[in-house]
Every structure is written in C-alpha cells, then in structure tokens.
C-alpha cells in the first residue's frame, strides 16, 4: 500500500514567496501521476517536498498512510531519479545501483540478485563494471532508474528525467519508463514541463500553474474537457486557438460573432449549456485539428475563410498559421494534400462539436 496524499500543502520561502499555495492531491497505489506546468509553477518544489528534500511550510504529506512531514528522506522509502542523473562518479554502475542497498545492510547475494534483475529490465547488464563517465546520456539515465528500481521503494519520484536527452532518445526513454512502470507497478510521481510526456505517461495528469493545481484528470479528459484557459492552452501542441467572440441569441438558437463579421452557429446540444452567457463577450477556443480543410456532412461543421501567413508542412499534416482581426497566432491543421500558400485565401471547416467557450475574465471554461 503506497498511496500518496498531499493535504493543503504550502511551501513558503524566506521573504514570503509562496512556491506552492495549498494543494490537495490523492495519488492511488500503483498510479502514475505526472505533475506538469511551466517553470516556476511549483511542480518540482512539490516533488521535493514529497522526497523530503524541501521542508514543508504548512499542510501535510502522507505516504502509505503515514504522515512523513518530519521523517528524513532515507526513512520515507522513496527513490528519486534526477534530471542530471546524479550518479556517483567514482563508483561503477553496479556500485551506484547497490549503494542504497549496502547502506541498508542488505545481504550480498540479495544485492547481486536485485541489481542483476534491474539491469536486465533496463538492458544495462553489460555496463555494470563501467564508471558513469564511460556511459552515454541515455545509459546514465537508465542507471539512475536502475538505482531507483533495486530499492523496490513505495514511491518513485522522477524530476524531469528526460530533459537532458536529445529528442529521439527522449521518445525512446519515455516508452522505457512506461514499460518499467507496467512491470514494477510502483506508485510514481513524475515532474515534467513537457505536456507530451505528461499525456503519454500519466494515468492522471496534474496541471499546475503559479503554485496551484489548475486541473487533475486522465490525459484524454484534460485534452477534451479542459477546465480553464490555462489548461486548454497548455495541453496540446500546437496550442488551442483562442478568438474573442460575442454570444448572441438568434431565433431560438445561439450564434457566435467572431471578429471580421464571421458568424458561427452554436451546435444545438450546447445551447442549454451556454444560455447564461447569452449577450456576453466570450473566448471561442478551438484546437488546430478541429480547424481543417473544407469538409461537409455534419451539422456541426461551419466555414471560415482565412488568409494563411505561414505554412509549415510537417509530413503527415500541414500547419497553417493565420490571424483574424483581434486574434493573432492562430493555427489550423490541414491534410498535406490540400494546396495552401501564404497570402492565398482558403476556406476552412471548424468542427464546432469540439469547440470551447471560456469566460474571458475568470478564464474558466463555460
């Protein structure tokens, strides 16, 4: 049993700066939770408080039902993987992995067995006699993970473990981490600023901003039903388009009036939900993949004419960047076979079944 509970957790630094402003989070046994957010959002501080490397100002942390606020890191039964690996440079790979077990006075044969087992899982059995400096970045990261695995702790903590790797290796190691979690099933808290990592790895994603939790949920839920403008804009790449609009009633239905005289009909099933916002300024949010080349056949499709500014052919898709009056940096995702050129107007289809309306003041999704 190793659920992790954060209750009204606050971290305040000298001078009154609050890095974490009272967060509550329940992490279930065996769960893989990713804390994601921009730099300075408090995600790493939260992780370090769980590890015991940072003092807790207020609130409490419980691991496996025991409050650990005053328990030193070595007695919390956790293992941590650092961004820069933090391998002991003077020890071999074997000794690096065995160090924690040696300090805990495990018998020699048991240490050997556990290190061999972890080395097999991570495919580093041939590297056990090497020193860290003779390893590549990816291999060092595997050793760092191996050091965590051999301890068989209650909780794994990962602090941006892939940030120092090149793009290709990062994708490979991401899969590796997921595979390891599926094998050992240890409760995991993983910190990253990369929303792709968050989406691909997590059972649940915790989006943080300015020291508070914006939203917690499974990746798909966060993607399709963001609660705030921050989450809507942070999750997904390229980011969601936001266009200022006005919601007007029109003979029993609702219409969105976008700048440039564009009028979009709000789908029928949504009219009830947006009734209260009638006559108000709103933000119309739509993801680039729901703004595509011209299509027909669904009631929720609406047409918008735009003039592309920049075309980015990505191979499997083409990104078209454009602007409307009052809304800059907009993006549409087109099939690569669709001809598009900068400056030549084209008509796009917006799938309004996937649109979002946000309150521009509070940033909440309506």
């Amino acid at each position: 049993m190793a659920q992790v509970s954060l209750r009204s957790l606050v971290k305040e630094y000298d001078g009154g700066v609050q890095a974490v402003k009272g967060i509550d989070l329940e992490i279930a046994d065996h769960e893989f939770v990713v804390l994601v957010g921009p730099s300075g959002c408090g995600k790493t501080t939260t992780l370090r408080m769980i590890a015991g490397l940072e003092e807790i100002t207020r609130g409490e942390i419980a691991i496996g039902g025991t409050v650990v606020n005053d328990i030193p890191p070595r007695d919390r039964d956790i293992a941590m993987v650092f961004q820069n690996y933090a391998l002991y440079p003077h020890m071999t790979v074997f000794d690096n992995m065995a160090f924690g077990l040696l300090l805990r006075k495990f018998p020699r044969e048991e240490i050997r067995r556990r290190v061999d087992e972890a080395a097999r899982i991570l495919d580093i059995a041939s590297l056990l006699d090497r020193k860290p400096k003779a390893l590549s970045g990816g291999q060092r990261q595997r050793v760092a993970m191996g050091r965590a695995i051999v301890r068989n702790p209650k909780v794994f903590l990962f602090d941006e473990p892939l940030s120092n790797l090149d793009a290709k290796l990062r994708v490979q190691m991401r899969t590796e981490i997921k595979k390891v979690h599926q094998t050992v099933k240890t409760t995991t808290v993983y910190v990253t600023h990369d929303q792709v990592e968050a989406m691909t790895l997590a059972d649940r994603v915790v989006v943080m901003n300015h020291g508070v939790i914006e939203q917690v949920g499974p990746p798909q839920e966060l993607y399709h039903r963001p609660a705030t403008r921050f989450v809507a804009g942070f999750i997904g790449s390229p980011a969601m388009n936001f266009i200022p609009a006005r919601l007007e009633a029109a003979s029993g239905a609702l219409n969105l009036h976008l700048p440039g005289g564009i009028v979009l009909p709000v789908p029928e099933e949504r009219t009830g939900r947006y009734e209260a916002a009638k006559g108000r300024e709103v933000l119309f949010g739509i993801r680039p993949e729901h703004l595509t080349e011209r299509r027909e056949g669904r009631a929720t499709y609406a047409e918008i004419e735009i003039t592309p500014e920049v075309i980015e052919p990505m191979g499997m898709e083409t990104l078209v960047h454009f602007h409307l009056d009052g809304a800059r940096d907009l993006c549409a995702r087109l099939d690569p076979t669709v001809p598009a050129a900068p400056g030549a107007p084209i008509r796009l289809t917006a799938d309004l079944a996937n649109m979002h309306l946000l309150d521009p003041q509070s940033g909440r999704v309506l």
């Binding site: 030193p72 933090a86 050091r147």
Partner: protein, 299 residues
C-alpha cells in the same frame, strides 16, 4: 555577375585573414615560450647555484678568480658531512614529524569544516565561510607575538608539539577555503541522491564527498605540506633548542657559527630539505590534475 565578381574580390582578403590569424597564433606562441623561459631561468637559477655550490670544495668557493657558475672539481664532502651530522638528521626527523601531523590535523579539520560550511546550510554559515578566509589574510609575522603568549602559557615553547598547535593557524583557513570551493562544485543532486539512498551525513561525506573531491583534497594536502615544511617565522620565534628545531631554521642557525658560513653544507642541507616537497609534488600531480567529477551529471 557583379555579385560573383565581388565574391572574387573578397577571396584574397579571406585568405589574408587566415594568414594573419596564423601569424597571430605563432606570435602568441613565441611570446609565451619566451616569457616561460625567462620565468624558468629566474626561478631555477637560485637552486642551480645552490647545487653547484654544494658540489664545490671550500677552496674553490673561496677562490674568486673563476666563473662562479662552473665547477672545476666535484666533491660530495658537504653531503657526506651533513648526512653524517646527527643534528641535521634530527632536524629532518622533526620536520617530517611536524609536517605529517600538521597535514593530518589540517585535513581533518578543513574537510569537516568545509563540508559543514558548504553543505549544511545553517544560520551564519556564509559569514563563517568568509570569516575563515579572512583569518588567512592576517600575516604570521603579526600573529607570532600573541601566539607566543598562548604557546608559552601552555608550556609548549621550545617544543615541536607547540608547532603542531600554531602551524594549523596558517594551513586550516586556506585549506578550508579550497575545500569549500571544491565541495561547492559537486552537484547538489549528488548529496540529495545519497540522502534518499539512505546515507547519513557522515556516510555522505566519507563515501561520496571525499572520493569525488579527491583532487581538491590533494591540492589542499600539497598546500598544507608546503606551508608546514617551509614554515620559518614560527619555529624561529618559538624554538631555540637545536634538538627541537625543524630543518628550515636548523640549517641556518646551526651551520652558521658567528660570521663563519659553512656554505657548502648550508647549500647541501637546503637542497636536501627541498627534496621532499619535490617528491610529493611529483607523486600527487597526476591525481591533482585528474578530473574525477566527469560523468557525475550531464556533461
């Protein structure tokens, strides 16, 4: 057409630039060699003069007619005399005893102090670290008077054991400073990883910091060794009995009788005294240069 013509016109200038870079490099190389040769001559001339003087007979030294930089007749009589002199061997033994113990005391204190000051953040640690260095700036020529009172009060005047007390005032501050710098360069994640792995502060120091900071520890050891081997002011002030003297003052005080200078023996003794530091440097230099931290973190 005009563009390519312009490009052609530029070509010689590019080549000229490369040529001038090469010339600049050669010039820099020559000037650095020249300055190094000048520096080497300045620094090596005195020991060389000591060497040839120690190999000359007394008669040859007294004869001013020839070139003083050349030897007409090589003799080892001064070396034989000094190595057969029990007093000199006593100086040597005193120096070894004091130096080894001072180095051990210094390293024990400064490694522990540096670890605490650089890693255990406590109230005033920053000010203490600066304070440690400031004490190093007070010259020993000022300190020996109050220290005389202290050593005298403890009844350790005229004893090598008194030196064990005063030499660390010279070595500990600087060694601590070196070690603070070295420990500070060890990534913080390394001790955090050790903490999570279950290490206590002592285990972290002995199993992680000391091995990783070995080049720094060796640098500090070399410094402590050099300072205590070559210390002159303190033993001059505190030691008057030949039996307790270290080499530095033993050689000059016992081999100079009134205005009679036994130059050959003085030079032979000084050269022999300079030997241990040379040996220590030669042995430890490789460790000193080796960068052990490579591979600890991304790099």
């Amino acid at each position: 057409m005009s563009a390519s013509a312009a490009a052609h016109r530029d070509l010689p200038r590019i080549y000229h630039k490369v040529g001038s870079l090469r010339a600049e490099r050669r010039w820099a190389l020559w000037t650095s060699y020249a300055s190094l040769v000048v520096a080497a001559v300045i620094f090596l001339a005195p020991p060389f003069y000591m060497l040839i003087t120690s190999l000359k007979t007394n008669a040859e030294m007294a004869d001013l007619s020839g070139n003083p930089w050349l030897i007409r007749e090589v003799t080892f009589e001064h070396y034989a005399a000094i190595l057969g002199n029990e007093l000199f061997l006593g100086f040597f033994w005193n120096s070894i005893k004091v130096t080894v113990l001072v180095v051990a005391i210094t390293m024990a204190i400064s490694v522990l102090a540096a670890f605490a000051l650089s890693r255990m953040r406590f109230w005033g640690s920053q000010a203490l670290a600066t304070g440690v260095f400031l004490t190093y700036l007070v010259p020993d020529t000022l300190l020996f008077i109050p220290l005389y009172q202290i050593v005298g009060g403890l009844g350790l005047l005229n004893s090598t054991w008194g030196l064990l007390l005063v030499y660390p005032t010279l070595t500990v501050p600087f060694c601590t400073w070196i070690m603070i710098g070295y420990f500070a360069s060890i990534p913080k994640e390394l001790d955090e990883a050790a903490l999570i792995d279950g290490a206590t502060w002592t285990q972290m120091l002995l199993k992680i910091f000391v091995p990783v900071a070995l080049p720094g520890i060796i640098a500090a050891t070399i410094f402590a060794f050099t300072v205590s081997w070559a210390a002159f002011v303190y033993p001059t002030a505190f030691i008057t009995t030949p039996d307790e003297m270290p080499l530095t003052i033993g050689v000059v005080s016992q081999l100079v009788r009134g205005d009679t200078f036994a130059w050959g023996q003085i030079m032979a003794g000084a050269l022999l005294a300079a030997l241990p530091p040379v040996v220590v440097y030669a042995f430890l230099m490789d460790y000193y240069i080796a960068g052990l931290t490579a591979g600890a973190t991304k790099g």
